[in-house]
């Protein structure tokens, strides 16, 4: 089994107030970066699908992580390599050269070369919240797709993927090769089962930690660098950023005396009810 996981680095939300915004540009110098949380979940899902949950040290398949960005994003890739991915691919570019369509096209080229069984994405990146690249890639590849996965179960040559819907679960069976995007429930203890993992096995909640020796070994795992021009297939940035502005500072809240006062404010001030 071979799985590709697309990762994006996002500004650490704890430090997001350091962002300097001018109308032309968001200045990202000095920001701390993290893997987009949903992409971390995608990686965790891929790792669970390529192991026997009882023996996670023995890898039973290949997980390749890929991203687009400048040299600095390699530190994000190495974090993924430390948690268990086998190798990484970086498409070299700057952040402001990109939009979702271009990213999807570039990834499509890599995926077509790599020929994985599955590609797993986070459902969206928490910076732009666009929720588009996974779907676009599936469309460009003309592969089946299952989005917002809450659980994944491996079968012979297919995945049984469930998403939460109002009042229940909606389950799709996608045949390999396929694209899956994951929601946060995917890292719950009983969300992902490879064929090797016993159905009674429970993972610990959340994503796995990188052990220190794995951080050391990640240094030696390969990171392949590709040029944007070679992967974009002639597609160029299609979005034009007209203006950037910081959100208005939030006004201080008020404490209300009782429920009656709350209802009154909601009805008359906020006009919400």
């Amino acid at each position: 089994m071979k799985i590709l996981v697309a990762l994006k680095r996002v500004a650490d939300p704890d430090n997001a107030n350091k962002v300097k915004v001018s109308p032309e540009k968001i200045d990202t110098t000095g920001l701390e970066w993290k893997i987009n949380p949903f992409d971390e979940y995608a990686l965790e899902a891929a790792l669970r699908l390529t192991e026997d949950g009882k023996k996670p040290k023995k890898r039973e398949g290949e997980v390749v992580v890929m991203t687009l960005g400048p040299k600095e994003v390699e530190t994000t890739l190495r974090s993924a390599l430390a948690t268990g991915a086998d190798r990484a691919i970086r498409i070299d570019c700057t952040d402001d050269e990109l939009d979702g369509r271009l990213v999807a096209n570039a990834l499509k080229t890599v995926i077509a070369e790599e020929k994985p069984d599955y590609v797993i994405f986070g459902k969206q990146a928490v910076d732009g919240d666009n929720n588009g690249v996974g779907q676009m890639v599936a469309e460009l590849l003309d592969w089946p797709m299952a989005t917002f996965a809450a659980t994944i179960q491996e079968e012979d040559g297919s995945l049984l993927v469930s998403r939460e819907v109002d009042g229940g679960m909606c389950t799709l069976r996608v045949k390999t090769p396929a694209v899956v995007t994951v929601d946060l429930r995917i890292v719950a203890p009983e969300s992902v089962y490879s064929k090797l993992t016993d159905k009674a096995h429970k993972y610990s909640d959340g994503v796995r930690f990188a052990a220190l020796p794995a951080i050391m070994k990640a240094k030696k795992k390969p990171i392949d660098v590709k040029a944007l021009a070679d992967t974009a297939g002639g597609v160029t940035i299609g979005s034009n950023y007209a203006n950037f502005e910081a959100p208005a500072a939030r006004a201080a809240g008020v404490k209300v005396e009782d429920v009656a006062a709350l209802v009154d404010k909601l009805a008359n001030e906020a006009k919400a009810i």
């Binding site: 430090n15 530190t75 190495r78 930690f209 990188a210 052990a211 220190l212 020796p213 951080i215 050391m216």
Partner: protein
């Protein structure tokens, strides 16, 4: 201890003091901030990843269980220790041939910092991986190491360090526990009681220090003792003010037969093992205090932003903002000194050849070289932590006095830091004593520097002048303060010779002054480096420079106050006039916009919900 006989050696006036920038204690004579000191901004990706891994473990696994740990819920701590072992946190300082990672001291300090928010866990971890495991790493024979190290590194065995006894704490070498060789020469038989042993309740391997009885003489030596050896028993758990979840017990040895192979190091050299291992412990205690102080500051800041009085969040009040800024400047100084020291040790150790059979002996010599710095870190950072937790508790008002708020635990947990690994008093005495001893051994040109200072003072225009840049005033103040401290130290040493060792008040003041010299030098070096990297107008540069300036302002004043007290303690009337005149020339004030700088720092910290200036 004839550490002051032979005084009066005249140095040449050609001494190049900056040659001593990497000598232990060398900061006292090198020019300010020029020492190329290592700063936290120089950590590479791998260092930061190790730190983040440990910080994440603390945040997600340890901190949520702090209350269970404090209430000694059975097994919580052991379980967390096993998880830490599985993540490789026990491998950091263990050599590769025993499955370890043999990482540098900076990494071990970063991890100690990251694990500091929950004192009980930090102390348990530190006792096992530090004072518990390191005696074997540095002094074990190949056979001893292969017997135990791998299992200590994997968490299969837990370790303890047993030096203190009920009747000997600070005076550790007066231990009463004895070891006698059995008639057949195959065993040592140990008898005695060890006290205050961290991890005592569950450790499997104890490094025990005892007096080896050799005819009429007692030879202080170290032994490796397994818990299961007959005659080893454990006292009840101490009921403590803080770090309540950690295990602290008596370890009682009643005719314990230890195979001769379990003697650690050489007979009669136990004090070397005991003190060098404590040296390493002291850096980690220092940086652990810094980490706990950062955590406490974060708690205080969060509370201050939410708590409203007089219709305003209390974070808007000047006296609250002052507490935040003052805490941050101490953290900044402690952090700068701690990682500078790690940088010194690691740079020297990196030059060693790992395949050299003498590698560990040489590595230990490097650790010994920086023993002054180790004591400074221990004292300065634990005192700083005491200040910070106290002020952050105060920010919480009445709530801070209740168990409902984390700061209450932080306040209790902090207290031990000034007591163990050598009390702050014992460490204070060591700082000037070691510095002067080095001067007499010719390892540091302290007396020459004092002579030079006298000459500089005797004519106009000879003292260092103000340079340029945002740290110009501080750098000059540091230069002058070094002269004043070294001058007073050598004055006292020349006057009292060996008797100085009994003038504890003088030594204590000197210790504080010397610690501040290291602090000033380290923050200046760091702020200058940041200025070079980002430019004077950069916002972050301004915060660094503000912290450095605020700290130097306090440190300078404190140094001269200490020296004034020393002058009064060591001089008759006309001597005092001379001393005052000389010190007066070095005690040059300059203008610092204390309020403006405090505002800048407080604003930054409040905006970032905590210290957030490094990793």
């Amino acid at each position: 201890m004839a550490w002051l006989s032979g005084l009066g050696a005249k140095g040449s006036c050609m001494t190049d003091y900056d040659e001593h920038s990497t000598t232990g204690g060398g900061f006292a004579v090198t020019s300010a901030g020029r020492a190329g000191a290592f700063t936290p901004e120089q950590f590479g990706e791998e260092h930061l990843k190790y730190y983040q891994a440990a910080a994440e473990f603390s945040r997600n696994q340890v901190e949520p269980r702090a209350e269970d740990i404090d209430h000694k819920k059975p097994e919580v701590l052991r379980e967390l220790m096993q998880q830490a072992a599985d993540l490789g946190f026990f491998l950091v300082e263990v050599p590769e041939e025993y499955g370890g990672m043999a990482l540098d001291k900076a990494t071990s300090m970063l991890i100690a910092e990251a694990l500091s928010p929950v004192g009980s866990f930090a102390v348990t971890y530190g006792a096992h991986t530090g004072i518990g495991t390191l005696p074997l790493v540095y002094y074990g024979t190949g056979e001893q190491r292969s017997r135990y190290l791998e299992r200590l590194a994997s968490g299969e065995l837990m370790a303890s360090y047993c030096l203190s006894e009920p009747s000997s704490g600070s005076d550790a070498l007066a231990a009463k526990t004895t070891a006698t060789l059995s008639a057949d020469g195959k065993h040592y038989v140990l008898n005695g009681t060890k006290a205050w042993i961290t991890n005592g309740g569950f450790a499997d391997l104890y490094t025990v220090f005892a007096q080896l009885v050799d005819g009429d003489s007692l030879k202080f030596s170290a032994f490796l003792i397994e818990r299961k050896t007959p005659g080893v028993s454990i006292g009840k758990e101490e009921r403590k003010l803080g770090i309540r979840g950690s295990s602290t017990t008596l370890v009682i040895l009643d005719n314990v037969k230890v195979p001769v192979e379990n003697l650690l190091g050489e007979v009669g050299r136990g004090h070397k093992i005991a003190f060098n291992i404590l040296n390493i412990g002291r850096w980690k205690l220092g940086i652990g205090s810094v980490g706990a102080a950062k955590y406490a500051l974060g708690e205080g800041v969060r509370y201050a932003k939410e708590r409203v009085q007089f219709k305003r969040p209390i974070s808007e009040f000047g006296l609250i903002r002052q507490k935040i800024a003052t805490s941050a400047q101490l953290i900044y100084a402690g952090e700068s000194m701690a990682y500078r020291t790690a940088g010194l040790v690691d740079a020297a150790t990196a030059k060693l050849d790992k395949s050299d059979p003498e590698y560990f002996k040489k590595a230990i010599n490097i650790i010994e070289e920086y023993t002054i710095e180790a004591s400074i870190l221990k004292v300065f950072c634990s005192d700083a932590l005491a200040f910070v937790v106290d002020e952050m508790l105060q920010v919480h008002g009445g709530n801070g006095y209740t168990e409902d708020y984390t700061v209450e635990r932080l306040f209790r947990d902090a207290r031990i830091m000034r007591i163990f690994e050598g009390t702050n008093e014992v460490n204070r005495l060591l700082i000037p004593a070691t510095l002067l001893k080095r001067a007499l051994q010719g390892r540091l040109p302290l007396l020459e520097f004092a002579e030079q200072t006298k000459k500089e003072l005797s004519g106009p225009g000879r003292l260092p002048t103000r340079g340029t840049g945002p740290m110009a005033d501080e750098a000059r103040a540091s230069e002058l303060a070094k002269r004043a401290v070294v001058y007073c130290a050598s004055y006292a040493a020349t006057k009292y010779l060996d008797a100085l060792k009994n003038k504890q008040r003088v030594l204590g003041e000197l210790a504080d002054a010397i610690a501040h010299l290291y602090g000033m030098d380290s923050v200046i070096a760091r702020a200058e480096r940041i200025t070079q990297a980002h430019g004077e107008d950069d916002e972050l540069t301004k915060v660094h420079c503000a912290l450095a300036s605020l700290y130097c302002f306090e440190a300078r004043a404190s140094i001269f106050q200490s020296l004034q007290r020393i002058a009064m303690m060591i001089s008759e009337d006309d001597e005092l006039d001379l001393l005052y005149e000389r010190l007066g020339k070095l005690d040059q004030r300059y203008r610092v916009d204390v309020m403006g700088l405090q505002e800048r720092v407080a604003e930054y910290i409040l905006q970032n919900d905590g210290y957030k200036l490094s990793h």
